[in-house]
Symmetry: C2
Subunit: 132 residues, 2 copies
DNA sequence: CTGCATGCAAAGGGTTTGCACCGGC
DNA sequence: GCCGGTGCAAACCCTTTGCATGCAG
């Protein structure tokens, strides 16, 4: 997860981190871009993507590869789980009763060496519920 | 899941279904296209996409929205789970010991009305394991 | 015949990348 | 000053769509 290559804290990178930390919403790259642009109007979307990628590769933030949707980013790099609103795509953290492990639930791994679970809950967020 | 609009069994649609049934690999749209093209050389990729979409909307096949990857299609429309190879992306069915429900594992849904789980196991497929 | 399905090609959305310049350290 | 980071724009990949034509029922 960590690399030894030099790592420069540019103003762009710092601002991206700050905005990501300030957002509880697990924003998409474009949402991060829009927020950061208010403070650094000349930043480019490419820079946002490159930084989110770099920060995720170093384990500073977490990349959420949403099934069939836009990628989102999470300031909290610790392993945890999410609910995603099936209407608007909003993502929020959830807490499990007990940790879940593959061999707890898996009967037959079909010849694969299982190394993890990708799990996400689907739901309807408060805003979308009241909107109906 | 079902629609009342007329549903024509064209040769393209039939061939796509047959090839999907014959493939145990949960192929991507392009993989289906390549297979079908051997039998119907003039078929277009757009037709494959449209048919896979239509068939999924009618519950005849299942669309697998893979996190951070290409969409895949499953001939079996029943709810079941998959392992995905983190190296080559191959997908295979797995069997669970017991069914899993959201409120079994979820402590705090964070205000969401939870309607489902999206779950996928990650692993290394036999082919990639022996290749290492 | 009717109107859904097709082939083709162009457009679309999200993400990545090549390149010359910029600026942390 | 070195070399990683940036802005810009073009390229990229996968998927969707508009349109005229084809063909199943």
């Amino acid at each position: 997860m960590e690399s030894n290559r030099a790592f420069r804290m540019t103003s762009q990178r710092r601002t991206i981190l700050e905005e990501l930390k300030g957002a509880m919403t697990h924003p998409t790259a474009d949402e991060v871009y829009q927020r950061v642009r208010r403070r650094l109007p000349r930043i480019s979307l490419g820079t946002v993507y490159r930084n989110l990628e770099t920060l995720a590769a170093r384990g500073i933030i977490r990349k959420l590869d949403v099934p069939g949707g836009q990628r989102r980013f999470d300031f909290n790099p610790e392993l945890h789980y999410h609910v995603r609103c099936v209407h608007c795509g909003a993502v929020r953290d959830v807490v499990l009763k007990v940790p879940i492990s593959p061999d707890q639930v898996l009967k037959d791994p079909g010849g694969f060496e299982v190394v993890g679970i990708q799990m996400e809950f689907l739901g309807i967020c408060p805003a979308c519920r009241s909107r109906q």
